[in-house]
Symmetry: C2
Subunit: 958 residues, 2 copies
């Protein structure tokens, strides 16, 4: 089996992500993937019973605490998951005993995470365990966890210990001091306080048992309140243990412990809590769902990304924003970047504008931090932090410390130079306002953001007297591979754009809300001089654009840097910067992420300079090949997907889109264990709605000019625009559908395709030939590929004469040998890539058949453990005429209920390809061209082969 | 009462440090003070039940783990102390309920820490709790803890929970990953592993109950194995709970958990463990004790410092050394400095040379780290780390990060520049060898240290062609206030000395062990050129010494720096560097610690250049006044004590000595909460033995030329020199004793001395006078100071005639008023400084009497809460003749069993001073000279007055 493939133990359905296998070395990645939350907190998908290498975490919005080097971080909060099950003295852990079956499901529709495990203890007791958990979307302070236990083959004593752990850690560091703990008649509680920021947290826990007479005991080791129960369990009888947790902090209420205890005391039963929670999710999905038909994997992935955005958006808190890794991991320490405003925010602006407003209000409330930063650097106005946390002060680490005793520290320059963040925030403010017409918010919050950051720009630009132009020197643009750039086109144009909008807002405010205007004018010292200078900067700032070529130069002198051919570095699994070093990368024309293209994308929304379809095309051709899109920044692929789609490069667009959509589920970049890629998730929404959907916002309503990816049969979503909902329901143009073969079924040959039974056949024939004294060897065996048993025998006996009875006996004999051999087969005999491909087909709704001449096909499929994946098995008993006659494949298609032209045959034998073509089907040949060259598509084998790629190849072949 | 005094809740006895009061704001300081250990581990004196602000810690030698910025630190190990006592549902914590009595004792003789608390629960139940703990010196893997509980006024249910906590933290960081845990029939166990260094730790815990029928239950929340028991306790019946803990790491054994469980299973009972432990301590003290007679406080303090050194010295491990803060706190992260070789090592060299050898072997085993450091800096040979840990690589932090968002990092230069450490280690190697004649160790380890560091010096010195001399530029000397110095005298001379010894050892090895010599010659590339260069450096290195003045210039240009008068900065409670800033301090002639004087001290041992009594005197006069001895470095006072003693400045010597000796107990520098000052403790031993004892090591035996501090009647200790023990038993010279008054008792007046009852007398007299129409006021009251009741009345009535009966009635009446007033007195009415002084007298063995004319003296003493501190009370009933007659004081002296000349009277009234002088006693007058000027010593009051100072003043007066 293909061990390097990450995807093959997931099954995708429209609403549910299903993990079918437990892989200990992917524990941390899966913890990220199965994060749940409710906009107040996020909890990683760690196991209730704990596990080696687990990194459990619960993050609550705004609960930051100090830490050296990176200043502040989201403090991992007490772990509410621990539930220890002990079966007759044997403690359940997945690392011990035997996992007989395993399935974990994230139900996106209901926001519930479930896990079913059949476990056999080291002592031989088998039990079914079913865990379920949710963070209530109906009441953000409530968490529920259920465990159902059913003994499969024993009666015995089961002990359950449910705890809250006051020892959570941020990579070893515990931000909490234990203040107090205690018992109530409903359970136990814990009071903690962050070490430096002095945030108080109260958490209460209760537990009930259904289906057994089991009183719950409370014990209270320091920092580890524990509820426990012991009961006699009987074979086949299910006992249900429900654990309830409530949590408050001093950011929410005055007395968190009291509130947690009161809330716990008032909770209804588990089912009622789930009902309210599911109802809240229904409302959320009603606004924010995207329906995709014809591509189950894309459907699930898009919903997954939306789910992760929804659970990280604060509904009742304007003092926080969504960190780069949401509330799902330790990466970037819970700091907030431009990721929120540029990548994530559009989703909220157009589906849940109230949440978008909360996120932008965070920027308003942290203006003073931005002012302190400006002042520290010697500028005026408000200079937003590249990385921001509770105060808005700059929290980007200054140094990356070395790993060894004598290494040098690496200076990180983003805090000083990546100044475009201030314009990015202005951009988000502007489009929030455009989409909502929320003039009150613009008056009270947005205008001050926009204007005071404009004041900053007024102090930051420099006038170049030689060239008589404004410049901005010494920055890092969107592309972080160039650590110090002058006149970065992205930055300069965004500043110009920002100042244009600032002047507009200045005039608007003066006319519409003169009182507020006067207040701000005084507060921000918006003198006539400052305003006129903004206009002057707009007129005279240099944007390095060459109309003759249509190219925008990323930064001054960029085109003079050493060029690079990224293909020369393939294959690779790390970034170009890691390969070349920071210094060498600085010297080359290689981008971490779109920069000029990012600018063009941002200007696309309102078709502003330098955006035109032509500039996009010219600059795409220049910059896309020079962008480290695979391992550079996760911010890139969604943007490339949109622009590629605009340029009609639908295959490339879809690839980039899926790269973004699966970045977390399939750990495309290898770093998903650090947390959800929030910006990528937001980019996925933009790629679907603004890219494939082609949505533009006219004054009155959104319009769509769709470019649906191949195979998408429907794309439907809602948009909120200026107070009204607009439903967009798109289907492919006829042109789209015509270009694609309408493939509904795949028929696999067995030997040499799914497994190597050819070897066992050979061994059977060889044994027979040896017994009969017939000349035979491996070379001769090659001629038997895809040939029926009888014909094979005839080839072996050659000219030697045998009676029909003898022939029959010999066929039977060889078959006995063969059947003996194949009894030893296991799933390990599957060829690489098969399972993954079968899964993908199932997810994509493609039917699957076997088309093999073998009379032992059914046995082999069972031995291989894949029998249940086949809708139809056509084998040596199914038809009379063997391959190359088309009969066997036609038989399979008929039983699948498909037309021949809707089927693809995967074959490794020349006769098989011939049969497929004769049947009027698509053929995929595995092996050398000399053998299978007449197939539509030729591949060496199925390792690493994905259905979408196969489909593309078949359509290209047309 | 004097709240700023730290000492007054300690009582000092010869062998036991007694804390008599629980002060919540000194919790962390006291945790350091009451550290116990056994050379394998150290455990801070945290409470078993936990407490707010507690910083519990157990450090095991060599258990380091990685940490950013400071590279590595001693990992706080699982806490073995937790023992939670719950009385009828109320959990014992000192912060709750009421502490009715409290005493904590560190028994240095037996190495046992005890605490007795009488606690009244919030619900009103009173219980006596007696805790006791020890880290076995007989078996370093065994820890014992006993808790005895006696209900005082109730029968009730008591629950005990004894745990080991797998969540220890280094200032928030938990270095441990939980590997496994479990139960045995003796208790429970825990297995952890350090995150980066992958050190495995196994800890097992057992618990037994005596005096109650109480089975022990085991529960096992993740990382928190807990043994618990519940029993019915009866009034007056004592129940004893014994907790046993065993601990091993993978540094000691292959399977720590197995060893811990086996060790636990084999343990005898608590008493037997204590017996073996006490016996081991008896052996340790037999070698290392110092006996001081005549100064209980110094006696206790010296033993305390020795105790702290003994418990931090590894007996079975040569791969570790003693960190700057021993194993008692988080300061300096468990890193090893020159503190060990220069300050601590002499104690071990001369009393337990095997331990000294272990510590030096650590340096041998970390030579490769020193070589890596040399190589990194571009030098040859071995350059020892300024801060060293498990590998010997440099672990001094490079940066001190700022505390705020925009602050700059502070570069720490010690790793680069404080290079004298390599010579310091050579110095220790040399004197270990001299003291032990251990040629084998010198051959196998010492020579390689000495020679390869000499190789380093050969590459580090620079030749100045202009001056034709070798120089060492860009260093930090012993004095760290000067961050970059050229030709630091301390460094240059130590290097010269080092090379001298290196040449000696080179020759010695060549002649004595030619094989080893050849090996080292090849390994270290000891070419003829290198050796001849060493001699050249010895001959030509510049030592900035001016024979005409006798002054050594600390570094080139030091005398040209701005001068400073430290008196101008008094009073202060922080260092000069903190007052002036790093930069400004660099520019001035102010020292953090002895530098030239340190060099003179080190050269004193063998009377080498530039040491002479004259250079000491001249340089003392120059540098001592410029040294920030109070708040600079804790390494200074002991060295100043020795040199001051040599110079005959016995008072100054004793003051510096006590500053060092009490640095931890009385938190002299305000930072003892970070851990024991190990170097100071070693310095204290040197000050007593080499300073006051005047020990010099001749070839055949040590000789002593004592200079005992005032009051010391005997100084006795043992020294191990070249394989033999030498007992040194010193007594003061007759000259010493003659100069001191032999004071054995202090007699206090009451009113105006211990308390302000004068005010209550005044109120009584005023009330009487008003009733009788007699003229009286505060001014007239001044004349009544120290005057009997009758005489006072006569002064008030003046010429007015009253019968004796009337007078008697008036005296009775006034007395009734007065007695009414004094009923309201409390300990709060004590005058500042009284309690502290009474404590010091008790500790110093001085008897105490009251000598007051008041007939209510006994009542007043009781109201003030000090009645039990007085050996004799002489009051208005004792004698006929009032002051100024001597009768009352003579009465007191007689009942104290003392001669008048052995007594001091403390008085605030002229009549009292007159009486004291008439009695032939010493008199201390409190108040203005006009009133008490005839006393031997006049003070404003007793606030901040220390007995040693008073005694000195009285002796100066002679």
């Amino acid at each position: 089996m293909d061990k390097t493939d990450n995807s093959h133990d997931f099954t995708y359905t429209d609403w549910t992500l299903v993990e079918t296998q437990l892989k200990p070395n992917q524990i941390q990645h899966r913890e990220t993937v199965f994060t749940i939350g409710n906009g107040y907190l996020g909890t990683r998908g760690s196991f209730e019973e704990g596990s080696t290498r687990a990194v459990p975490a619960t993050f609550i919005h705004g609960v930051y605490d100090n830490v050296p080097l990176v200043y502040t971080e989201l403090a991992n909060c007490p772990d509410w998951l621990p539930l220890i099950v002990t079966v007759d003295g044997e403690r359940f852990r997945t690392e011990r005993g035997e996992i007989l079956s395993y399935e974990r499901q994230l139900d996106l529709l209901r926001g519930i995470l479930r896990r079913k495990v059949r476990w056999r203890s080291p002592g031989g007791k088998t039990i079914d365990l079913c865990f379920e958990r949710f963070a209530s979307l109906a009441d953000e302070h409530v968490l529920g966890l259920r465990c159902q236990l059913t003994p499969v083959d024993f009666d015995g004593l089961i002990e359950i210990q449910g705890s809250i752990s006051g020892y959570p850690e941020n990579q070893g560091f515990n931000h909490w001091e234990l203040i107090d703990q205690g018992k109530t008649n409903r359970g136990a509680w814990l009071q903690l306080q962050t070490r430096n920021t002095r945030i108080n947290l109260g958490m209460a826990v209760g537990m009930t048992v259904l289906g057994a007479d089991a009183p719950v005991q409370v014990s209270s080791p320091p920092g580890y309140p524990t509820l426990s129960t012991v009961f006699q369990a009987s074979l086949g009888q299910t006992v249900t243990v429900d654990k309830f947790v409530t949590v408050f902090t001093s950011r929410d209420v005055d007395n968190p412990v009291k509130e947690a205890n009161e809330k716990l005391a008032q909770l209804p039963d588990y089912e009622a809590l789930v009902d309210a929670h599911v109802q809240a999710w229904a409302q959320a999905w009603d606004k924010s769902d995207i329906l995709i038909e014809g591509d189950t994997k894309a459907q699930l992935a898009v919903r997954y990304n939306i789910f992760q955005l929804l659970i990280s958006a604060p509904e009742h808190d304007e003092k926080v924003s969504i960190p780069a890794k949401t509330l799902s991991g330790f990466g970037y320490r819970g700091h907030v970047f431009w990721d929120t405003e540029i990548f994530i925010l559009p989703f909220f602006i157009y589906t849940q504008p109230k949440l978008a407003r909360n996120l932008l209000t965070y920027r308003y409330l942290t203006l003073n931090g931005a002012r302190r930063k400006a002042s520290h650097y010697g500028y005026k106005g408000a200079m937003y932090a590249w990385e921001s946390a509770e105060t808005g002060d700059e929290v980007t680490p200054r140094w990356l410390p070395p790993n060894d005793f004598y290494g040098e520290d690496i200076r990180i320059w983003c805090r000083d130079r990546e100044i475009h963040i201030s314009a990015d925030i202005a951009y988000a403010v502007w489009y929030y306002w455009k989409a909502t017409d929320n003039d009150e918010w613009m008056r009270d919050c947005g205008a001050e953001i926009l204007l005071d950051t404009a004041v900053f720009w007024g102090s930051r630009v420099e006038y170049n007297t030689k060239h008589e132009r404004y410049e901005i020197r010494g920055v890092i643009g969107a592309d972080e591979y160039h650590e110090i750039a002058d006149n970065n086109a992205f930055t300069n144009r965004m500043v110009q754009w920002h100042l244009e909008k600032a002047l507009f807002v200045y005039d608007w405010l003066r006319h519409t809300y003169p009182d507020r205007f006067n207040t701000l004018q005084q507060k921000l010292q918006l003198s006539a001089g400052r305003i006129s200078r903004w206009q002057d900067i707009i007129n005279n700032i240099w944007i390095p654009y060459d109309p003759s070529t249509g190219l925008v130069e990323q930064s001054e002198g960029f085109f003079k840097l050493e060029d690079i051919d990224l293909a020369e570095y393939e294959p690779r699994n790390r970034s170009i910067q890691m390969i070349l070093s920071i210094e060498e990368t600085n010297k080359r024309q290689v981008l971490k992420q779109p920069d000029v293209l990012m600018l063009l994308y941002l200007m696309r929304q309102s078709q502003e300079f330098p955006y035109t379809p032509e500039t996009v095309e010219k600059n795409w051709d220049y910059y896309a090949p020079r962008t480290d899109i695979t391992y550079g920044s996760s911010l890139g692929p969604a943007i490339h997907a949109i622009l590629a789609s605009d340029l009609g490069k639908s295959k490339e667009a879809y690839e980039h889109f899926m790269q973004a959509a699966l970045v977390d589920i399939e750990d495309v970049r290898g770093n998903a264990h650090e947390g959800i890629h929030g910006a990528s998730a937001g980019g996925v929404w933009q790629a679907v709605v603004l890219g494939f959907g082609g949505v533009q916002f006219a004054e009155h309503q959104p319009t769509a000019t769709p470019q649906l990816p191949p195979g998408w049969k429907r794309l439907k979503f809602k948009l909120h625009w200026r107070g009204e909902w607009h439903e967009i329901d798109l289907r492919p143009t006829p042109q789209d559908t015509m270009t694609l073969p309408d493939i509904r079924g795949v028929i696999f040959d067995l030997d040499g395709v799914l497994t190597d039974t050819a070897e066992y056949h050979y061994l059977g024939w060889q044994k027979l030939a040896d017994e009969e004294g017939l000349p035979f060897n491996r070379e001769a065996n090659e001629d038997l590929r895809g040939v029926s048993r009888r014909e094979s025998l005839l080839k072996i006996v050659g000219k030697k004469q045998y009676s029909e009875k003898q022939l029959q006996e010999m066929m039977d004999r060889k078959n006995r040998y063969y059947v003996d051999f194949i009894q030893t087969m296991t799933p390990g005999d599957l060829l690489p890539g098969t399972i993954a491909l079968l899964d993908e087909l199932k997810q994509a709704g493609i039917k699957i058949a076997l088309g093999s001449a073998s009379k032992n096909a059914q046995t082999v499929l069972e031995k291989l453990g894949i029998a249940d994946r086949f809708d139809v098995v056509a084998d040596g008993y199914s038809v009379q005429q063997p391959k190359p006659a088309p009969d066997l494949f036609l038989f399979a298609a008929q039983h699948l209920g498909l037309k021949p032209e809707q089927c693809v045959v995967v074959e490794d034998a020349a006769a098989g390809i011939e049969a497929a073509l004769a049947a009027g089907m698509y053929a995929i040949g595995l092996g050398p061209s000399e053998r299978v060259g007449s197939a539509h598509v030729v591949l060496p084998n199925l390792a690493g082969v994905h259905w979408t790629e196969l489909r593309d190849k078949l359509s290209n072949d047309q």
